[in-house]
Symmetry: C2
Subunit: 130 residues, 2 copies
């Protein structure tokens, strides 16, 4: 399998799903190096679009993502990574980055559908969170 | 809510999840127009990166995606759309585009984990599938 990194300037999206609950925890982007390091180590690595560098999920917070299964889509330009995680995958303090819904399908108002499960200030000592 | 379309050349990724089973069916990309049409019609629209145009999921196949809920991530640059669908969301004939796994976590071999549920040749009359 050769993922197609060309459609998105060297990146592919990676959907991170809790392998036990199928909850989508986050979506990140991988370049070729992040993809290869993830395969080699069974821990999820990303390419940060803002910092322009490789990073390992959990490198600051300790909340690593242990790869249990990798699925690839029809066009081989997107992955699902089913992962084992501890609590708190979102840098804001929630289990999932998707903690809000568009109320009544409109973007006028966002409704919170989750509670924070940790305090990010205690976890991220550096200014740059993950 | 103002989704941030700037990080990805005017696009944001949209993860499509079956609202009943939480199975991830596909991942597409939306530009601002696709996002607004999706909100207005409650049917999912995408921007095709290869054809450089807006398209409605199901415009050829009839396999539309009816929006039940929209979740937004912490950075407001990615959406989950929980949708009601009939069978067959992947243009190749599977329910989900993610019908293969990397066997033993290596990309040397892909293992099929689903069966086709329709014949795409009977569904897509034009050469360009969705």
């Amino acid at each position: 399998m050769k993922p197609n990194f060309e459609k998105l300037n060297g990146l592919i999206p990676a959907v991170i799903q809790d392998y036990k609950t199928n909850k989508v925890l986050m979506v990140g982007f991988m370049n070729k190096q992040a993809y290869q390091k993830t395969l080699a180590t069974k821990r999820v690595y990303y390419f940060s679009r803002t910092r322009k560098k490789l990073w390992k999920k959990g490198e600051q917070s300790g909340h690593i993502q242990k790869v249990e299964q990798i699925l690839v889509d029809c066009d081989q330009d997107c992955l699902i990574l089913k992962v084992a995680v501890d609590a708190g995958q979102c840098h804001v303090g929630y289990q999932s980055c998707f903690y809000r819904v568009l109320e009544k399908g409109s973007d006028k108002e966002l409704k919170f559908i989750a509670e924070k499960i940790y305090d990010p200030k205690e976890v991220y000592k550096q200014q740059h969170y993950e």
